[in-house]
Symmetry: C2
Subunit: 438 residues, 2 copies
């Protein structure tokens, strides 16, 4: 609820003033900016506000790709943020259109082929929205010293909230997809490899160089999975239970997203991002006018140091020994699991990667970042899926066969966690760049 009335009002008026006056008092204002949102009505606002904002933003992003590297920090950082803001608004507009078109079937897991296409489009737009929000978020952290701090902190909070609220529905769907595919693989041994059921084909699949990199279950294969034969009773019941629970969670998340998209808070975020798409509020009297290498490189370097420190705290040498059994360790216990340190690295790695993106050609290239980051995303998803299986197993009065299948499924996903740690460690330690400072 910490959004800025000033920003809303300004962008609502459509006049884009220099950002300095908007930032300073904005973060402290706590009154809900309901005036314009209430006048427009929740439904209409969701569809019109982002579209208008995006149209305004469409004129801003100059040349595609990284901004001219020779410019000032303000040009480079501002250009990056403006592009991301435009992407965010585009995603928001696409999503609002998708939600409007598929409103009838979007509530639960129902819907025909047209509904599925709508859902896929909506998922893609949410993906674009999240990607842009994450990047803005990370950059607002790294380069906070150059930006209006109150504005930056406020926007970060709001971006996180919006991206989270909109994405939750899709992460429920992804989790269900992941767990169903795993159940089918556990029961029939065929899914998840993208191959036939004969061992020779499976072996041939394992022979490809990519498979050696721990890229287990890389293809989604979700649609193919659904067509496979009947599961044994325990696995089938576990699948049905998970589907019930995750579909319920998804429906709730969908309602929450719809509600959020009609809220005043949403309009404030959309307006703030629309403002950002044309103008970046730099800190008054900051260094933003100086050259990129002088101003933008040190914060990125600091992000790298934070990342390195967090990685150094990980038990990497242990994770590098395959089948170290750490993934399942304590999974029948009651205490919290040791995933937090890995998740912390996941976030820091993302922040550093986005800082590198801003620097563009000025950045020291680090080929580890992308594969290591993907491994940590897989770590995160598998851990969440394992937790979903564990929580489903805590449902009262389920059959023992169901609970047994959920136990196997839980362990399987925890081994995915372990495999992801292994992959991360491989990428991180093997291909350390020569030129990187210690």
């Amino acid at each position: 609820m910490g959004r800025s009335r000033d920003v809303v009002v300004e962008s609502g008026r459509g006049t884009r003033e220099p950002p300095r006056p908007a930032g300073a008092p904005g973060g402290t204002a706590t009154d809900p900016a309901v005036d314009r949102a209430a006048a427009a009505g929740p439904g209409a606002a969701a569809a019109t506000a982002p579209a208008g904002a995006a149209a305004a933003a469409g004129t801003v992003p100059g040349p595609a790709g990284p901004a001219a590297p020779a410019g000032t920090a303000a040009e480079v950082l501002g250009g990056y943020l403006q592009e991301r803001a435009a992407e965010f608004l585009r995603g928001l507009r696409d999503h609002a259109q998708g939600t409007g078109a598929g409103a009838g079937g979007a509530g639960g897991g129902s819907g025909g082929t047209a509904g599925a296409a709508d859902r896929a489009r909506a998922a893609a737009s949410v993906g674009a929205l999240r990607s842009a929000a994450r990047r803005m978020n990370g950059v607002l952290v790294t380069y906070r010293a150059l930006l209006d701090p109150v504005w930056a902190d406020n926007l970060r909070t709001e971006l996180s909230w919006l991206a989270g609220v909109v994405a939750r529905e899709y992460s429920c769907a992804d989790r269900l997809e992941r767990l169903s595919a795993a159940l089918h693989r556990l029961a029939s041994g065929a899914a998840g490899r993208g191959e036939g059921t004969d061992p020779a084909a499976a072996e041939a699949g394992g022979r490809t160089p990519g498979a050696a990199g721990g890229g287990r279950r890389s293809a989604g294969g979700g649609a193919a999975t659904r067509e496979r034969g009947a599961l044994p009773v325990g696995a089938a019941r576990a699948g049905a239970l998970l589907e019930r629970q995750l579909t319920l969670a998804r429906t709730r998340a969908h309602s929450a997203a719809l509600q959020a998209l009609g809220s005043a808070r949403f309009h404030a975020v959309a307006d703030a991002v629309a403002l950002l798409a044309s103008e970046t509020p730099f800190r008054p009297g900051g260094d933003a006018d100086r050259p990129v290498a002088v101003v933008l490189a040190p914060p990125a370097e600091q992000a790298r140091r934070r990342l390195d420190e967090a990685v150094a705290a990980l038990p990497l040498s242990r994770a590098g020994a395959p089948y170290n059994a750490d993934g399942l360790s304590r999974s029948l216990g009651t205490e919290a699991r040791q995933d937090a340190a890995w998740d912390h690295v996941r976030v820091l790695l993302r922040v550093y990667r986005y800082a590198q993106e801003v620097l563009g050609p000025h950045a020291v290239p680090d080929p580890r970042l992308r594969p290591a980051g993907e491994a940590l995303e897989r770590h995160h998803e598998a851990a969440a899926a394992a937790a979903a299986a564990a929580s489903a197993a805590a449902t009262p009065r389920i059959a023992p066969a169901t609970a047994y299948a959920l136990g196997v499924l839980h362990a399987d996903q925890r081994h995915e966690v372990e495999a992801a740690r292994f992959t991360f460690g491989r990428h991180w330690t093997r291909t350390h760049p020569e030129g990187a400072p210690s």
Copy 2:
């Protein structure tokens, strides 16, 4: 029930004739040789017959270590078999004494510290007995062409039967130990590493070179495991269920072993091995008088070829990619698992290793055999433990939490299976000897 009255009577008389007349008709005689065994009584026979046989055998094994390599095939092969026979009889005698001494507490899982020491001694004697029986068995297979074939086939059958009957009790105990340790590790995360609970120590453990070889859970750590704190309810119940079931199986196996040790069939085996301890029945008119390199090397080479062919049929390249998810594949399905091919290799590898032992200095050394064989033993034990967890989960009316813990445990052991395959593949493909023929 296919033992030889001739052998029994001869060895009972204590006169060791050349083996030729005993072998030929021996395998075909089907009458039970109950006369002497019935006269001695089951209990006394179990204690006296092996002791007497071992005493007779004690005079036979000449110099320790491999027999003189320069001798004939008969000397080398006969010497090897005689040493193994003496070991077998010694193990049998020790076991009979141990069973007699600890008869009160040997039935179930009860017994104090004295009972535990007795059990440990009895387990050691059974281990020696099994090891000798396996070696005789393997050598009888590999060098069958040099031996009296009917005698060899008959003795193999009987050795397998006896070793299996006596060892089953201890493998039940080992399996329970393994599963309890795994449950404690899964619930508390500390057991199985032989380290404290702090992650730093665990990581330090992972840093040792041995741990990188996939030597997960190498130390038994069973005694330490038992002293750890209380498990969560599901794990505790699963542990109690497994303990009930495996203790019942162990008690049954113990009774069966006692019964077997009092049977006429047992006396026939003991007598046949006692005969072997002094004299090897070679095939009449065979090559046994020719030099070792000419006669014994080709069968060993053939054993190696059989092993290589079986290994070539394994999906080794897939198993060599860590976290390939094959171990758990189909584990919720109903069809049989794909462990048979690996188990086949385990047996063939053992047979080849024993053939190499016979050859001694004449053998081409293959440093892969021992670590690869150990990995396959671990494969076998983990697969059996996973099956025990799965079968416990099929118990009617268990609580869902119990079934859930058993599912996690099952998956954990299947991942041990996968880890063992990985370790085997590493050993097999990395350190291939230079001089080995393709």
